[in-house]
């Protein structure tokens, strides 16, 4: 789920690496964790999804919920290195328009 988290106090950015699966089973824990990080340091978020293999609508809901909170202080959530079939899910659901999705810098 969350493989790694690091707050850069110079740029006020959270660097989060996601991995494995985010689904109806672990989404509540993921939500709690993200909200906790937002409270701890209300900065921008970079979510590195290089090792993320699966996310369902519950996981997407958590991202939306986090985005709402981050928007409250005019922050943003950037999503990076999505695998093609996960990127497809963001497009299908229209979430590619509300998150800043960086495409094309996926090294492989």
């Amino acid at each position: 789920m969350i493989l790694d988290e690091r707050f850069d106090s110079d740029t006020k950015m959270w660097y989060i690496s996601l991995d494995g699966e985010i689904d109806i089973y672990n989404a509540p824990e993921f939500k709690e964790k993200l909200h906790q990080l937002i409270q701890q340091n209300p900065g921008d978020f970079i979510l590195d999804c290089d090792s993320l293999n699966y996310i369902d609508s519950t996981g997407l809901g958590v991202l939306i919920s986090a985005l709402r909170r981050v928007k409250e202080y005019n922050g943003e959530i950037k999503i990076r290195n999505l695998k093609p079939y996960i990127y497809k899910i963001f497009v299908i659901t229209g979430l590619d328009k509300i998150f800043t999705i960086e495409v094309g810098n996926r090294e492989q």
Binding site: E21, D23, I24, Y25, Y54, D56, S57, T58, L60, G61, I64, Y85, I89, I92, T93, G94
Partner: protein, 130 residues
Amino acid sequence: MSSDLITLAIPAKPEYVMIARLSSAAVATRIGFDVDQIEDIKMAVAEAIIMIINQLTRPEKLSISFILDPKVIGIEIFGEGDWESSNISTHDLGQAQLGKYILSSMMDSVKFDLDNGTIRAIFMHKDLGV
């Protein structure tokens, strides 16, 4: 030749959705779907289950039937438990909307069996398309 039927029943708990997902992938593999189609089917089954679980106030059991024909997979998902049409929050509605977008783009057809505005069962199918 009549269709082959595979049925799976799991407790309607979040920790078991993954089992339905992986079993769906195994079924789809056997029919001959390609890697992307298998991903779609796994995702659709999971979303259908999530939708049904979210509508039940006391989810008990989920039954998933796979109806297999040489080039088509039909999937029926049915939930057992208590539910009320009134208990759906806007939060859940947003969630359900996400699920519906995903379902309808992953499968070739999706039908909801509604009971008083609440989804009790979901039928969907996908063609092998070769």
